[in-house]
């Protein structure tokens, strides 16, 4: 008698749990991402369904500061795309996940997006490591893989990867030479140069070239121009104490300081230099967070590379101008402190343009067709015309231009045809 009583209660409890779970489960059934096992609904009205673009970004973790910009850029792109009628007549949804700045997580996310959630397209994450891991998945699954911020150009051989970090496959040679050309163009080229390089794969590539290769990079290219390299410091990522580096820079006192910097390395170094009353004569920062560098002491004259800035001639095109405006508003809304549309947002935008151009060009969501189309047709983008070249691992030369902080603003100064009218490199 007792036993059966207990049994009833057990069953009642289990049933309650099952109901709760089932209820939760039904909620999930409404999520847009579960398209796999609901054939009845999807096949009924396919054109009503949005095209799902899957991807991840480093929304948390050490890459998060810059990834936040890519999130705003991507969201704005999709918004505008849908407002203009979508893609193949369908709306587009961007399903972006957080890879926590870690490659293995990114790989798992792309695996899940492609094989479990059956997204239609993918777009690469932010950051070299996560892109590399995600690209391996895209390659296995045969997905077209546009990506915007991978810095190790030499390493990517997947036939259907489409880089929109437009620096050329030999970026270690081409990128520093654009900087050096700008210095020569200023009419006051340096006699001595000092290097302060982050121990980050991308900055090391530009500084020294690919590992196990004697191609060289910024350091050897400077020597080729007959400049005297008076300083070479490598510092670990996330260095917080800049005083020792600053004193060595001041001690070497180069005519030009080439900083292989990420994020806030630049402002940190400038603050530390200012604290010992040293102002660099000329200085360059590889990939700085633009806002903090503008507010740093003695930042005037600091140079960097870019492919797009929010001023003429880039904003001459009314569409570009409207993108710039809308981006600023959306970034401010997202709480991002520096709201100008520049190199990071532009490369993100370009990746979206490449993806959508491929789909529109191929007229289908078939990955092979999209890949073929992109390999065989140039794409018009916000940073110019891109023609992916399989002979250069799908790169297409270095489109970088030089910008400089002048009067508290970033302006493009070199080459003249891309520069803000009237602006020239100042040293």
């Amino acid at each position: 008698m007792r036993t059966s009583h207990k049994l009833v209660r057990l069953l009642a409890l289990l049933f309650a749990f099952a109901l709760v779970a089932a209820a939760c489960g039904d909620d999930e059934g409404d999520a847009p991402t579960t398209t796999a096992d609901v054939p009845t609904e999807t096949s009924a009205a396919p054109s009503e369904d949005p095209i799902v673009v899957g991807g991840s970004l480093a929304l948390t973790g050490f890459l998060a500061p810059t990834a936040a910009i890519h999130k705003v850029a991507g969201e704005l792109f999709v918004e505008r795309l849908n407002a203009a009628g979508g893609l193949l007549g369908r709306d587009v949804v961007w399903d972006v996940r957080d890879d926590e700045s870690t490659p293995d997580q990114a790989a798992a996310i792309y695996e899940r997006l492609i094989t479990e959630e059956n997204v239609d397209l993918v777009l690469g994450p932010y950051g070299t490591g996560t892109i590399t891991a995600a690209m391996a998945v895209a390659e296995r699954e045969g997905f077209v893989f546009p990506h915007h911020t991978a810095s190790l150009t030499y390493a990517y051989t997947y036939a259907c990867h489409f880089p929109t970090w437009p620096v050329g496959v030999d970026t270690n040679i081409s990128n520093p030479n654009i900087v050096y050309d700008a210095l020569e163009a200023s009419g006051n080229p340096p006699a001595t140069i000092g290097f302060v390089l982050n121990e980050f794969p991308g900055t090391q590539l530009i500084g020294y070239g690919p590992p196990n290769s004697d191609a060289g990079g910024a350091v050897s290219e400077a020597k080729k121009r007959g400049w005297d390299v008076v300083l070479e410091i490598n510092f670990p990522t996330a260095t917080s104490d800049w005083a020792p580096i600053a004193s060595q820079v001041a001690e070497a006192d180069p005519d030009f300081l080439y900083v292989g910097a990420l994020g806030v390395d630049g402002p940190n170094l400038l603050t530390a230099l200012d604290a010992i009353n040293y102002t660099p004569k000329g200085h360059f920062y590889q990939w700085p967070a633009p806002g903090p560098l503008l507010g740093a002491p003695n930042a005037d004259g600091a140079m960097s590379v870019t492919v797009f800035e929010s001023h003429p001639p880039y904003t001459d095109d009314p569409e570009a101008a409207s993108i710039v405006d809308e981006f600023a508003a959306k970034a401010a809304e997202a709480g991002i402190p520096y709201t100008l549309f520049d190199v990071q947002a532009a490369t993100s935008w370009t990746a979206w343009q490449v993806l959508t151009a491929g789909v529109a060009g191929a007229g289908s969501l078939d990955q092979e067709e999209i890949c073929d189309w992109l390999l065989n047709n140039p794409v018009e983008t916000i940073i110019g015309t891109i023609d992916f070249d399989p002979a250069q691992q799908n790169y297409y030369g270095d489109l970088s231009v030089i910008k400089q902080i002048q009067d508290g603003k970033w302006v493009v100064v070199y080459p003249p045809e891309k520069a803000l009218p009237g602006a020239t490199p100042e040293l």
Binding site: D95, D98, M135, E141, P201
Partner: protein
């Protein structure tokens, strides 16, 4: 011993069943992610179980899992990724290199009687930082350049990338679990438990504490490193920042504490629950809440279920098994989403059930009040 033979048979059966999964997946045309999901779970189960061999068994709290993992990752990254060794030749060295580093640490710290538990914990935290600094400084290891693992060829008999990862992680996980079990059911294990409770007394009763602690630390480092060696493939591009981050030690602690550190099965259960939840959070796009959730769960669990949930669900195993089955069945009927979601609902059901305090559970009057020792009695005869 009968129970041991039964358990080992259980392990063998589980292994064979799991080994068949890739074939099944191909047959049934499962989403490729299911295998990835499973081998990622194997990864976490291995990491947390190996951590538990040291910390759960001997009571020496370690933040060092990231170090063993990192040494393993870098061993294969350097040997297979950079030097062009065949992957399977490099892999065992991942375990052994971590073992050597672990034993060196043990030689230093366990020789010092004055070292308290919290100081041991911080020393292990420092190890990861020191190793990261070494990897940065020496170009032969990393030198700030990272190492690509994406073009490392895998032997053909392992199959495509996914099944190959699955098979390798499966073998390592089974080795780890069998070791964890055997230690648990042996003199070594009981010696370690004695050390955990009172190291001085244990020594006085004849437990060779130094040797035992070294064994526990060695096992921890070896399996953590071995799995790290395989994991380098999943990472694809190995960098110091990523590998020596606090993610691995953090999750390993979280998983083991949730599941319970007293029993070898605790970390297994904890890993499955945490990993599945985190994965589904990510899948649902709750990235903003993911960390809030993890943090809250950690706090809640430490306050609510001190022994970990495994011992609780085992005392309530009939209910647990029925609940698991019921939820799976219900979600098959009511909800057509992916299998991982179904698995999650079932796990959440179990988690919720385990959170019911003992007293309230007894009020539900499902069984007579068990004496506390009952659970301990069958702990010794538990099988896989």
């Amino acid at each position: 011993m009968k129970s041991r033979r039964r358990a080992l048979t259980g392990f063998a059966v589980a292994f064979l069943i799991l080994l068949a999964v890739p074939h099944l997946a191909e047959r049934m045309d499962w989403p490729g992610f299911y295998l990835t999901f499973m081998f990622t779970a194997f990864f976490w189960i291995t990491q947390s179980s190996s951590w538990n061999m040291l910390t759960g068994y001997s009571g020496y709290f370690s933040f060092g899992q990231g170090a063993w993992f990192g040494v393993g990752v870098y061993t294969t990254a350097v040997l297979a990724g950079k030097q062009g060794w065949s992957f399977l030749a490099a892999l065992p060295l991942a375990g052994f290199t971590a073992l050597i580093v672990g034993l060196l640490l043990g030689l230093v710290v366990f020789r010092l009687r004055s070292l308290g538990g919290e100081i041991f914990a911080l020393t292990t935290l420092a190890v990861a930082f020191v190793l990261a600094a070494i990897a940065r400084i020496f170009a032969a290891i990393d030198g700030g350049r990272g190492a690509f693992m994406t073009s490392v060829p895998l032997p053909e008999f392992l199959g495509e990338f996914r099944p190959a990862m699955y098979r390798m992680t499966l073998v390592i996980m089974m080795l780890t679990l069998v070791t964890a079990y055997l230690i648990y059911e042996s003199r070594l294990g009981w010696g370690l438990f004695a050390i955990r409770d009172d190291e001085q007394v244990a020594r006085g009763l004849g437990v060779p504490t130094f040797r035992y602690k070294m064994a526990a630390l060695g096992a921890n480092a070896f399996f953590g490193g071995l799995m790290g060696g395989v994991w380098a493939l999943q990472i694809g591009f190995v960098t110091v920042e990523d590998v020596f981050s606090i993610r691995v030690p953090l999750f390993v602690i979280l998983m083991s504490v949730l599941g319970g550190t007293r029993h070898w099965m605790g970390p297994v259960v904890g890993s499955l629950i945490i990993f599945t939840i985190v994965d589904r959070f990510n899948s649902a796009g709750f990235e903003n809440f993911n960390q809030v959730f993890i943090g809250s769960l950690l706090i809640l669990l430490v306050l609510a279920v001190r022994e970990g949930i495994y011992l609780r669900i085992r005392e309530r195993w009939v209910a647990t098994a029925s609940l698991f089955g019921l939820i799976i069945a219900a979600s098959v009927i009511f909800n057509s989403s992916s299998m991982v979601w179904k698995f999650l609902w079932a796990l959440l059901g179990i988690l919720l059930m385990a959170l019911i305090p003992d007293r309230a559970w007894q009020k539900l009057a499902l069984r007579r009040r068990p004496t506390p020792s009952e659970s301990r009695e069958d702990r010794e005869t538990v099988d896989a």
